[in-house]
């Protein structure tokens, strides 16, 4: 079921030996489930709007992909404010999945994104299996989408509000159903708020996911001692930023050893060094999130930094790096 880490590295060195480019420039391109990326850096969902917001600040053409803000079938208002609070080396958010709905996205936002030489990956969610499938079907019919990323950290309205992503049976059912609703490459974004993430990763793999991305935000809260109230309007929210990186790295490593699917590493990546740590533990691709808020050009700096690291360490391509942690 899982990878044999040692065998894998033997296979990897054989493969990369055959494909060694003769030029000195490292090859940053990577193909995951048929999505050909020019480099392994994506802007993470929820931190990059619909791409448009960032276009004045960086060249979108330089990104491997843009993962747009999560979409539902109908528009969602989101949670009452305050929605954001900074914590030690991190931030909590309770935006509440505010979005314009999949139809308006396709009509108003997708045409702009299609103009760029980057892949568009659409993050989506639902509050029932039916809604997940309905959104996937709408997106399947749109032109210019390279792949879908399923956010399964949502409560299931029809079955006791249990989060899809925290229960292997629910994960299996919702991913299986979506798998049948779209021909697009399907990335499943895993929740870290579980006892054993490898169980959920296996469920998603068995259900037909093409790629796994992890981790989503860690559930958390913050309290104001002056008012003796929660700092977020929604009381609880999701923690992101450098504070969560060690947790994310461990989970990527665990999942890498468990499943065969390509992985996208997410969680507190601020620099190229952070991104490389994720590749070493098994991520083929990384998503850059919270740092976009701090430095709109961070993702491009990370692309450049990865290239520099490859050159310095004579690494020829991404495949050579992935999961090559020395233990």
């Amino acid at each position: 079921m899982g990878r044999d880490i040692k065998k894998k590295s033997e296979v990897r060195s054989q493969e990369s030996g055959e494909k060694t480019p003769r030029t000195g420039k490292p090859d940053l391109s990577v193909n995951i489930a048929g999505i050909q990326l020019k480099n392994p850096v994506m802007a993470a969902s929820g931190t990059f709007g619909y791409g448009e917001e960032y276009a004045p600040y960086l060249d979108l053409n330089r990104l491997g992909a843009v993962v747009v803000k999560g979409l539902s079938l109908k528009p969602r208002q989101g949670n009452p404010p305050p929605r954001i609070v900074e914590t030690a080396a991190g931030m909590l958010n309770s935006i509440g999945l505010q979005n314009m709905g999949v139809e308006i996205f396709i009509e108003k936002k997708l045409p702009f994104l299609k103009k760029f030489d980057t892949k568009v990956i659409v993050n989506f969610f639902g509050d029932s299996i039916d809604e997940y499938c309905a959104v996937a079907k709408v997106l399947d019919g749109a032109d210019g989408i390279a792949g879908l990323e399923m956010n399964i950290s949502c409560p299931n309205k029809q079955e006791g509000w249990l989060e899809f992503g925290t229960n292997p049976d629910l994960t299996f059912r919702v991913v299986s159903a979506v798998r049948k609703s779209t021909k697009l490459p399907l990335i499943v974004k895993l929740s870290p708020n579980v006892t054993d993430i490898t169980v959920l990763a296996k469920a998603a793999q068995d259900a037909g996911a093409d790629v796994l991305s992890l981790i989503n935000t860690l559930s958390g809260m913050a309290v104001d001692v002056n008012t003796q109230r929660p700092k977020l309007g929604n009381i609880i929210g999701g923690l992101s930023g450098p504070a969560i990186k060690p947790v994310a790295l461990k989970m990527v490593w665990q999942v890498f050893k468990t499943v065969k699917l390509p992985l996208i590493g997410i969680g507190g990546i601020m620099t190229a060094e952070d991104a490389i740590e994720f590749m070493l533990v098994g991520a083929s691709v990384v998503q850059v999130g919270t740092v976009n808020f701090i430095d709109p050009q961070a993702s491009i700096k990370i692309v450049d930094g990865i290239e520099d690291y490859f050159k310095k360490n004579k690494i020829k391509n991404v495949k050579e790096m992935v999961g090559s942690l020395r233990i």
Binding site: T47, Q77, A89, M91, F293
Partner: protein, 284 residues
């Protein structure tokens, strides 16, 4: 990266930070910048600050103070980020993103103001920030300016001297009576609104003050614009963190049938200056 020119304490909790800005863009009164003062990850996010002054000769001939092109930020030490900011020394580098957001509508665009044009600037404490540039824009025009400036005490009226230098007609109130009238800035506003002639109110300050100002202006049928402050991560409309509830678009309960996309606007991109009538004050 820009350079710190000066960082002076002007009152126990208030500082003026001057920074260079090469190729300074045009800045409207009420616009803000997102500042990052450290490469460290704690504090992590940028912080929004209104632009107080334009230094040197800004774009379009704006500003004239000092020689080096840049901006001055007037800030209050309130938390981890501003405490660190107070330690900045000349020559240190800071990272500035902006100018961002929409400033105060020029009075020419405020429809109902016709004769006896009068601007009332209502400021509470650090809420004085956007009014320096606004006053600068109008103090030589035919429009009459009135500044109503309220604070907890005399140490809570930063920049008051700057407005005196302009010769702006100013009324002051303090909660403790240590300067000006003992009371709230809204007491001053009540008197001002009772005077004859059309006027427009521009306000910036704590939310409770803005709520009261908005109510008084609405009751007096006077146009009123407020500059809001909110926690925000990006400042450019991407994170959707700085949401503020807008009037008359649903109850906040998720309604999938609602045709309106959202009852929320973003302080960073849709504001920070809003028509006071837009805001659902009962939820603030």
């Amino acid at each position: 990266m820009e350079k710190v020119l000066y960082n002076e304490k002007i009152l126990p909790l208030y500082y003026k930070l001057g920074m260079s800005w090469e190729g300074l863009p045009a800045i409207e009164p009420g616009q803000f910048v997102m500042l990052r003062i450290t490469e460290q990850v704690d504090p992590l996010l940028r912080r929004p600050f209104g632009v107080y002054k334009i230094l040197g000769l800004g774009a379009g001939g704006q500003g004239s103070e000092g020689s080096e092109q840049g901006i001055e930020i007037l800030y209050k030490v309130v938390g981890k980020g501003t405490k660190l900011m107070a330690n900045l020394k000349p020559g240190y580098t800071v990272d500035v993103l902006g100018p961002l957001g929409n400033g105060f509508q020029p009075i020419s665009k405020v429809g109902s103001v016709r004769q006896n044009q009068r601007i009332i600037m209502a400021a509470g404490g650090i809420g004085i920030v956007p009014f320096y540039l606004l006053a600068k824009n109008y103090h030589l025009s035919s429009i009459s300016l009135k500044l109503l400036f309220g604070g907890r005490g005399k140490d809570d009226l930063p920049g008051l001297e700057d407005f005196k230098k302009f010769g702006i007609d100013t009324a002051v109130s303090t909660d403790d009576g240590s300067m000006g009238k003992n009371g709230l800035v809204t007491d001053l506003l009540k008197k001002e609104l009772s005077k004859k002639g059309d006027c427009v109110v521009y306000a910036c300050g704590p939310k409770a003050m803005l709520k009261a100002v908005a109510k008084m202006a609405e009751d007096a049928d006077t146009p009123c614009y407020v500059s809001l402050d909110n926690a925000m991560a990006c400042g450019i409309g991407a994170c959707l963190g700085c949401a503020v509830k807008i009037r008359g678009q649903g109850s906040g309960v998720r309604s999938q049938k609602s045709k309106a996309f959202s009852p929320y606007k973003m302080v960073c991109k849709d504001g920070p200056v809003f028509d006071a009538k837009e805001i659902a004050w009962e939820e603030i």
